[in-house]
């Protein structure tokens, strides 16, 4: 089967990031492959290693995002498509899914995988939007995936339990990072990725975004807390006292 994984380059949230004039200021070099998408790539590789098939990736992003495609190729994907947009292009999940849908109308795939959410915006909309635009059955928040002939069996983490869902292909699945630990590319993989094809296509028409970010704001700061001193039995007694009196939560 042909798997195509939608991947996004995101800022590394563990890097120092500041707000300046309502905008995020960070080192443009500190970017990573969205962790949820990395799990999706890993899962596609595992399934094709078991059952045959191929894995491709597609990314929408500025020029510099090519390195994120290379990362997926180094993990083992065979080919990448890069829909190139300007650094400051305004995209929301709706416009991203529209561009991806246009791509898949032509390209086709038996299984489309996305991350359950982008690590930077935590929107979590793109997958289901894309499936709906393509008229595909889908499952979100997958923590497990298996292939039975032409059917995918998804273990989905729901609110109160895990739902085991059988999806006929073609279909779309959004992946949680609780699914697996993505492989670290080997040196051979990294070298090989340099020779793998990346199809770069400039995006001419970016669909207008109906959701805009007006500005970024710091989170409200929490009152500084306090560390309780003393022997363990004193700490235990004091915290219970504080929870009863000062915090009144008991």
């Amino acid at each position: 089967m042909k798997f195509c994984v939608c991947i996004k380059q995101v800022p590394d949230v563990t890097a120092p990031i500041q707000i300046r004039d309502g905008e995020l200021a960070m080192d443009a070099g500190r970017v990573v492959l969205n962790a949820y998408d990395a799990s999706a790539v890993e899962e596609a590789l595992v399934l094709t290693e078991q059952h045959g098939g191929e894995v491709e990736v597609i990314l929408i992003g500025p020029d510099r995002a090519t390195e994120t495609i290379r990362k997926a190729l180094a993990m083992g994907a065979a080919k990448g498509t890069h829909l190139v947009v300007a650094e400051d292009a305004e995209l929301d999940s709706a416009s991203v899914s529209k561009l991806l849908a246009d791509f898949f109308q032509d390209a086709g795939a038996d299984v489309i995988l996305t991350g359950k959410q982008a690590q930077d915006t935590d929107a979590g909309l793109g997958g289901a939007m894309l499936a709906e635009r393509l008229g595909l059955p889908y499952a979100t928040n997958a923590v497990g995936l298996a292939q039975e002939g032409e059917t995918l069996v998804v273990t989905r983490q729901g609110d109160t339990g895990q739902e085991i869902i059988a999806l006929p292909t073609p279909c779309l699945v959004t992946c949680s990072n609780d699914m697996n630990d993505p492989r670290i590319p080997s040196l051979k993989g990294v070298m090989g990725a340099k020779r793998k094809p990346i199809d770069s296509r400039p995006v001419v028409d970016i669909p207008a975004a109906r959701v805009r970010t007006l500005r970024y704001e710091p989170l409200p700061t929490r009152e500084p807390g306090r560390v309780l001193e003393g022997e363990p039995h004193e700490q235990a007694a004091e915290v219970v006292h504080l929870l009863e009196t000062e915090a009144s939560v008991l």
């Binding site: 929107a123 979100t140 700490q235 219970v240």
Partner: protein, 327 residues
């Protein structure tokens, strides 16, 4: 005048608290802007919940009853809500941000041509659009966002608003629904590990959250005992979900659930940014950790530097004493 429609999610046979938080917020906005307040509930017998929903002030309650809603499946939920939205023509639809809602929101937005603001911490109607605040970058920052058009779909993080009652004489309207199951391209084979009984994490007032410091059965037992004394739900970090010590439904954080209880007690949790993303809005945070430099202490109201295996038994004793005095 238009309508604000609030979606009531049913879990374990009852409406979730976060659904009523959303409905309460919607009621305030409706009053402020002169809109009508409506609610929608999907269930095998949705009429069973209308009395409770009416207590939160919905003027019209749309019920869609069908056995297919006994288990969560995205396709029938999307179809049913699409039909309700087509009929009601709301300006705004408010959802609690549950896994069930996350599963349908994107598809529903496409089908209803709606702009959508997922997982917001606050929202308002503003000049023909909706403005909201949502945590981004693993809850390091808030993004102030604006959506244009009608309807706008908004899903709200649990604990963002208070659920407050304001009883109204509600009109109940049962909407016809037929879902051709043969058109359902997917099959739900089974639901495993479904929590029965226990206190739902997202709705809990007190949460005990276990991390990698909890190393064995004795540790699990202490966590359970502490939860029992406090009537708390048990949450967990990714580390102990991954190693199989706690169920995946217990995971709190960026990948897991968002909780905002009155009291969160983190036991042997380091406080990685992706975990904190799911609990930083708890009213009071207690952290128990052997490492004084653990980042969890930066957000903790009360910190105890110590070994959980020593501290928890003492804490459980103290709590039992306090409960006995109170009783």
């Amino acid at each position: 005048m238009s309508t604000i429609l609030s979606f009531i999610a049913i879990q374990n046979g009852k409406p979730t608290r976060s659904s009523f938080e959303g409905l309460s917020r919607a009621r305030h906005l409706a009053a402020q802007h002169g809109h009508t307040l409506a609610a929608v509930v999907l269930a095998p017998d949705a009429s069973a919940f209308t009395d409770e929903i009416a207590r939160y002030g919905a003027q019209t309650i749309y019920t869609v009853s069908d056995p297919i809603f006994a288990q969560h499946m995205n396709a029938p939920v999307v179809r049913a809500l699409e039909a309700v939205i087509a009929q009601v023509q709301p300006a705004l639809v408010v959802f609690p941000s549950s896994e069930g809602v996350k599963d349908v929101l994107g598809a529903l937005a496409v089908r209803t041509h709606a702009a959508v603001l997922p997982d917001v911490a606050s929202f308002d109607l503003a000049d023909g659009g909706v403005e909201a605040t949502r945590p981004v970058m693993a809850s390091k920052f808030y993004a102030r966002v604006r959506a244009e058009g009608e309807p706008v779909l908004v899903s709200v993080r649990s604990g963002s608003y208070e659920a407050t009652e304001s009883p109204a004489d509600a009109t109940v309207e049962a909407l016809p629904f037929s879902f051709d199951e043969s058109s359902l391209k997917q099959t739900l084979r089974e639901v495993v590990g479904a929590a029965t009984g226990g206190i739902d994490l997202a709705d809990a007032r007190v949460v005990i959250s276990a991390g990698r410091g909890v190393k064995d059965e004795a540790g699990q037992h202490l966590v359970q005992e502490l939860a029992d004394v406090l009537g708390a739900a048990i949450g967990a970090s990714r580390a102990v979900v991954e190693n199989g010590m706690f169920p995946a439904t217990a995971q709190i954080g960026q990948t897991g659930k968002v909780v905002s209880p009155d009291l969160y007690i983190g036991v042997g949790i380091s406080g990685a940014i992706q975990h904190v993303a799911g609990m930083v809005n708890s009213r009071v945070i207690v952290a128990i950790n052997t490492n004084p430099d653990a980042p969890i202490f930066e957000v903790a109201t009360y910190g105890i530097v110590g070994d959980l295996y020593t501290v928890l038994p003492l804490l459980i004793e103290e709590l039992k004493k306090a409960k006995a005095v109170a009783a």
